[in-house]
């Protein structure tokens, strides 16, 4: 009797996926707790921006990861969303329309979707490489237009607004940054959940099919162009929301938010985070803010480092950081990670050596190029280096070359061990299959 009851209970709760609840609960918890852990105003600013870029990168990945569509002009939708958000905000503060500040991002999302309906109709006529080229052209078109109509886009100075307006609701004025952070956190959580839900809808599944085998999808009777089009509109909606939140956060919108640089940043970091897995762009978005805020402060050569990291990532790990994580989780789940730790340490140590040598040289070149007036002596990680001295160049070169040789040795060792581990895992999987 009791045994029967127990199985009945278990059946009743079987449809609740504990793992998934834990992941989403943890995600919410991180967003709630983050500003309590990092309290400085810089970290709060960064956390706010991270929330915004998480939405943007996830929306971008709806196309790149799930649809195989590489858009070079996706900042258009977030940027236009920003502009409509700031205009809506200004109209609300003048009393022309009634609109709570919390809902401004939704207006932006609506306009993002509207422009995706208009422009996406043209861009999604093609897939693959032509799609990428056309999005680039449309992006240039909008960016050039933004400078052409200063009445709406504010010209060089941009459009400013004020998010503190109307009656406080439950004491929320959005004056303090922390209140805005929680608004953005709520939007980020809901949008992430919605975008994840999108991947489970029939449309989301068809989008994957269109990415993998468009010809076959056509044979089944679907119109691939419309699948791409609808996904594009959904993506435009979320991009718009991200743009609206950005408008609320910065309270100023300039023409560069629709520009190619912004689009490039979304693309770059979404890819770095990893387009293959749903959570990849979240990592990418966090990196985006870290790079834009911290790395750019730390070194003038940050774009070069970024380009190098990106290029190496495309060449050696096209799944991005998230795929690296998942590959290692797979190894760990078979209990094979421990023997690899030694190789990982060797790889990290030698790579750090290469990086140190290369970084010293790169920084010296940048110093000579940009800060010539300050003289040849520069500071690097606490040490002062003479950028024109033969000994510093020789030392840096030597460190890098030694590092390179050692890295290559460590890499060969690692490749061997990695291959062996994978073989063992394959064997284990086959044994398990045979056992069942």
């Amino acid at each position: 009797m009791t045994a029967l009851q127990q199985t009945g209970w278990a059946d009743r709760f079987r449809h609740i996926n504990t793992g998934r609840w834990m992941v989403w609960g943890g995600y919410a918890l991180v967003m709630i707790a983050a500003p309590l852990l990092w309290k400085s105003s810089l970290s709060l600013t960064m956390l706010t921006q991270m929330g915004i870029s998480i939405i943007a990168c996830l929306a971008f990945n709806m196309l790149l990861g799930q649809g195989g569509m590489l858009s070079f002009g996706h900042a258009v939708y977030s940027g236009l969303g920003s502009f409509f958000a700031i205009h809506a905000l200004n109209m609300a503060s003048k009393g022309q329309i009634t609109l709570p500040v919390s809902l401004v991002p939704l207006v932006a999302g609506g306009f993002g979707a509207l422009f995706a309906v208009l422009l996406g109709f043209v861009t999604t006529k093609k897939a693959g490489t032509p799609f990428a080229m056309i999005t680039l052209g449309v992006g240039e078109l909008v960016a050039a237009m933004a400078l052409m109509f200063p009445g709406f886009f504010g010209g060089e100075g941009g459009i400013t607004g004020n998010r503190v307006q109307g009656q406080p609701f439950l004491g929320i004025t959005y004056g303090p940054q922390i209140q805005l952070y929680y608004l953005i956190a709520i939007y980020t959580f809901i949008c992430t959940a919605l975008m994840f839900a999108f991947t489970r809808t029939p449309l989301g599944r068809m989008l994957n099919a269109v990415r993998d085998n468009p010809e076959r999808v056509e044979f089944i009777g679907y119109n691939t162009q419309f699948v791409r089009y609808f996904a594009f509109i959904a993506s435009g909606f979320f991009m718009g929301i991200a743009g609206g939140l950005a408008a609320l956060n910065f309270e100023i919108v300039t023409a560069e938010v629709v520009g190619a640089t912004r689009s490039g940043a979304y693309l770059l970091f979404t890819f770095l985070g990893g387009a293959v897995f749903f959570f990849g762009p979240i990592i990418g978005a966090v990196l985006l803010v870290l790079a834009l805020v911290l790395l750019s402060e730390l070194t003038q050569a940050w774009l070069l480092y970024l380009g190098l990291v990106f290029t190496f990532m495309v060449m050696f790990a096209p799944g991005g950081i998230s795929s690296l994580i998942m590959m290692n989780l797979r190894v760990a789940s078979f209990g094979k990670l421990r023997p690899l730790i030694g190789s990982y340490l060797a790889l990290a140590g030698t790579a750090a050596t290469v990086l140190l040598g290369a970084a010293v040289m790169i920084e010296m070149v940048y110093h000579l190029q940009l800060n010539e007036a300050l003289g040849p002596v520069m500071k690097f990680m606490g040490a002062s280096l003479n950028a024109k001295g033969f000994d510093t160049w020789f030392g840096a070169c030597f460190v890098m070359l030694v590092g390179l040789v050692m890295f290559e040795m460590a890499r060969r060792q690692f490749v061997k061990e990695w291959g062996r581990t994978q073989e063992e895992i394959e064997r284990l999987i086959k044994q398990r299959e045979a056992a069942t």
């Binding site: 490489t129 052209g137 449309v138 240039e140 052409m148 109509f149 050569a301 070069l304 495309v314 060449m315």
Partner: protein, 341 residues
Amino acid sequence: MDVSYFLISLLNGLSVGLLLFMLASGLTLIFSMMGVLNFAHASFYMVGAYVAYTITQAIGFWWGLLLAPPIVGLMGAAFERYALRRVHKFGHVPELLITFGLSYLILELVGLIWGRQALNFLPPESLQGPLFTVVQLPEALQFAWGSPPEVCKTVAGAICTQFPSFRAFGMGVAVLMLVSVWLLLTRTRIGLVIQAALTHPDAVEALGHNVPRVLMLVFGGGTALAALAGVIGGALRVTEPSMALAVGAVVFAVIVIGGMGSLAGAFVASLALGVIDSFAVGSDSSLADIFKAVGLGITPDTFGYVVWSVKMSQVAAILPYLLLVLILIFRPKGLFGTREG
């Protein structure tokens, strides 16, 4: 619109169009052979200009014109061999992404090596003057070689428009390059192998040709053509780090408008865009003026007056993209394209 203005605008447009085609031809060849859109193509154009500038400073312009394309071509071939070929197995998106990453790197490296300011890269002394001058007198149209004739100063109503020698030289180089590439592709053995590898890479490989090496050759050749265009374009316009982005997006528009993978389409589209751009830049009228001319009154109160009153010269920069959008709506294949999608 007077005749001399029309003539000079047409010639300017053609020279810009030929320059665009030098870029578009390499890009089209690479695209149709490898299925790779070389996002960094315009970056190689920029590197060509910068390398030629450095060589010009050292040993003169002609050496720069001669040496910069092969040097950049070697860089391109090396990039294909060591980076692009590696990601080929991952599919088209990573291939596009790696060239995108390369364009970032090149931009940053060029800024690092040559600085972020515009360089003073000028054509050689012998090509700096005007080639000929179109003199429009009230009653007749005359041409004069070299600098403006005396008539320009003496007769009151004379309109004199000069055509720079270097522009003409650039057009000559472009045409020469076109003809030689065409001869190379159709009349030589390697050209035939390239053409065959375009459509039947497996069969060509089975016949014992090294198709990957052919691909490397085509990539290197395409970047060398871009560099040649860069030498001309850099000396004709400005040599600065933003030159790649400015021209890159237009070249992409050219390729889509002409039809992906079609050399003839790219040719027509580049010339058309060049001429349209040249006339639009010089034009002072707006849509409102055109509507007025056909009898539709457009006043500052009309809805969307901001849009109607924008001058053609302001719109010139976005015309390629507008044309791109129109072509995609009405003829998605492009002008001479054969395949959709």
